[in-house]
Symmetry: C2
Subunit: 166 residues, 2 copies
C-alpha cells in the first residue's frame, strides 16, 4: 500500500517536472504569431533579408506590410486583408510575405515616408516597386479597407512585370 | 415552412461567409510563432533592429539566438532551453530576446563564423559582447544542452557589466 502510494507520488513528481513551464507574474501570455493576424495560413518571412533571400530563390515578388498593432487603420485593413480568400490565395501561391511593426534601415522601403499601414512590393531582382501604389497622393503606399480590389490588381502588376522582365 | 427553411439557409450562408478562411491546397497549417519553441511566454523581438531599439529604451541586454528548425543540435538545445524555468524567468525579466533562422547583414554577430546554434549577447550600448562565450574553442558561441548552467552564468555576466558601466 505504501509502495503503491509512493509510486503514484513518484509519477506525479515526474509529471510536474515534465510539464513545468515558466509563467510570467502577470499571467500566461498567448504566444506571438509571425502572421500577427494578416493571414495565419501564409508562410511569413521573419526579416527583410530573409524575404529577399526567398524572393530570389523562388523567383516570387515580396509584399512588405508595415503596420502597428495598436493603429486602428492597420487593424481595419488587416481584418479585410486576412478574410479575403482571393488575396490570401494569390499571396500564398505567388508571393513572399513579410509584415513588420518596426522600420528597416533600408530607405527604399519608405519612398514617401514612414507611415502605417503601408504596403510595398519588391521584385526578385531586389528592386523596390515604387511604381506600384494606392490611391492617396500624400501617402502613396497606404491602403484602406475599401481598397482591397486595387491591392489585388497591384499584386497582379507586381507579378506581371516580373514575368515580362524574364 | 418554406419561409423557415429559407431563413435557416440564409443563416447558414451568412455563417459560412463569416467563417470563410483561405486554406492551402496542401491542407491547413499551424501558424508560425515568433518564439519558434524557444519560450512561448517570452516577448520576442522580430528583427535585430527592433531588438536594439527595445534594448536601448528598456536598458536591457539582448540575447540573440541563431538556430535552424531542422538542425538536431539546435533542437536539443531548444528543448532544454525552453523547459528551464530559471533561464526563462531571467530572460523575461532582464533581457530583450531575439531568435533568428537567417543571418543578419551585421558581421559583429558572427565573430567566429556563421554556425548554429549560436548565442550572442549585445548590451544596450549596442556593443556585441564577444567576450561572453561558451566552452568550445572552435565555436566560441555554441552551447550544448549540458551547458545551460554556463549559459545562465553568462546571462548574469551580460547583466553585470551593463550595471557596472552605468
Amino acid at each position: 500500500m505504501i509502495k503503491a502510494a509512493f509510486s503514484v507520488l513518484l509519477v506525479l513528481v515526474a509529471m510536474s517536472s515534465i510539464f513545468a513551464k515558466y509563467i510570467p507574474k502577470t499571467g500566461k501570455r498567448i504566444p506571438q504569431t509571425l502572421s500577427r493576424g494578416w493571414g495565419d495560413q501564409l508562410i511569413w518571412a521573419q526579416t527583410y533579408e530573409e524575404a529577399l533571400f526567398w524572393s530570389r530563390s523562388r523567383n516570387k515578388p515580396v509584399m512588405v506590410i508595415f503596420h502597428l498593432e495598436d493603429c486602428p487603420h492597420s487593424q481595419a485593413l488587416k481584418k479585410v486583408f486576412s478574410e479575403d480568400d482571393q488575396l490570401q490565395k494569390i499571396l500564398d501561391e505567388d508571393f513572399t510575405v513579410l509584415n513588420l511593426v518596426y522600420e528597416t534601415t533600408d530607405k527604399h522601403l519608405s519612398p514617401d515616408g514612414q507611415y502605417v499601414p503601408r504596403i510595398l512590393f519588391v521584385d526578385p531582382s531586389m528592386t523596390v516597386r515604387a511604381d506600384i501604389n494606392g490611391r492617396y497622393a500624400n501617402r502613396m503606399y497606404a491602403y484602406e479597407p475599401s481598397d482591397i480590389s486595387l491591392l489585388i490588381s497591384n499584386m497582379q502588376k507586381a507579378k506581371k512585370l516580373l514575368k515580362s522582365e524574364l
